[in-house]
């Protein structure tokens, strides 16, 4: 499967996927994304829900069984991890190249 079609990821998606390397429910992902981004990326509830639905339909994340009847648990899928790796590699390349040019 050609995974590069998912790239580049938006900043929001990137932080959600990073947060989901551990199983988590919606509100926790919102807090985690804010924390990981140093307070810069604040995802509102409606946007968060839409983003999770999109990622689920792209099979980049998946649901795991939850003991809480009102909160689903989400986690990054194997495909999602592969896409995340490709994206980080892409970003790393940009940073390296930018460094050699003096930025």
């Amino acid at each position: 499967m050609n995974l590069t079609k998912y790239l580049p990821l938006t900043e929001t998606t990137l932080y959600i996927m990073l947060a989901l390397t551990q199983p988590a429910h919606g509100y926790y992902i919102m807090q985690k994304a804010e924390e990981l981004s140093g307070g810069r990326v604040r995802i509102a509830a409606g946007t968060m829900y839409g983003a999770l639905e999109n990622l689920l339909s792209q099979k980049l994340i998946e649901n795991v069984p939850s003991t809480d009847a009102r909160r689903k648990l989400y986690r990054i899928s194997e495909t999602g991890k592969e896409v995340l790796r490709l994206e980080i590699e892409r970003l790393r390349h940009i940073i390296t190249v930018a460094g050699t040019i003096g930025f």
Binding site: T12, H25, M30, A44, G46, G50
Partner: protein, 203 residues
């Protein structure tokens, strides 16, 4: 108190609910035919926010509502099939909006449009199924059209309600289908207008 209104544009609907609250009418329910239900209360400044989503099951719906409640929004009204979901901020530190980017905020118009198209297709199928009786005579009384004078009118009037019942469903389904088609077109327009307006604000 009840008011009949049809909104395509969510931003206008939010403004309407806020202005009603300012007049002392607290919104608590909307019914599918376009009725907004209010109770009288002290006037208040509010910040209603509306999302549009239809859910497959109760678990998905509960998960959605809980995500909002956890982040400081009260789910005021909405059911898993109602589409429109109404929210009010409850915490001081709740965000200003339920959306943090333009794409997701615009998506609600697309979800609404999709739902209208689904209804349009379903209603068209229903009206096609109910159109069948039109191939056969609508009045079934034998020799009705050969009758004369009062015996014709008597037979005609007796059968008229049944004849109407044979064709009415088709017209109702057809009218509802057309209505949903119009809603879908207007939802698309609202979507484009929303994108144009936000673009203008940012440039």
């Amino acid at each position: 108190m009840k008011q009949f209104k049809i909104f395509i544009d969510f931003a206008k609907e939010e403004q309407y609910l806020n202005s009603q609250a300012k007049k002392g009418c607290r919104f608590f329910k909307s019914s599918c035919l376009g009725f907004y239900h209010f109770v009288n209360e002290a006037p208040k400044d509010t910040n209603y926010r509306i999302d549009y989503r239809v859910f497959k099951n109760q678990y998905d719906f509960n998960n959605y509502v809980t995500m909002f409640e956890d982040s400081g929004w009260r789910h005021v009204y909405g059911t898993k099939y109602s589409g429109r979901q109404y929210f009010l901020p409850v915490r001081e530190n709740a965000a200003e909006d339920i959306f943090s980017d333009i794409t997701s905020k615009a998506q609600r118009y697309i979800s609404f449009q999709r739902q209208c198209i689904v209804s349009l297709v379903l209603l068209s199928v229903y009206s096609y199924i109910t159109i069948k009786p039109l191939n056969s005579p609508i009045f079934l009384t034998p020799g009705l059209w050969e009758k004369q004078g009062s015996s014709f009118w008597l037979a005609f009037l007796i059968e008229l309600p049944f004849a109407l019942m044979r064709v009415l469903p088709m017209f109702l389904f057809l009218a509802a289908a057309i209505f949903n088609g119009c809603l879908a077109i207007m939802a698309r327009r609202s979507y484009k207008r929303f994108l144009a307006e936000t673009k203008e604000q940012h440039s």
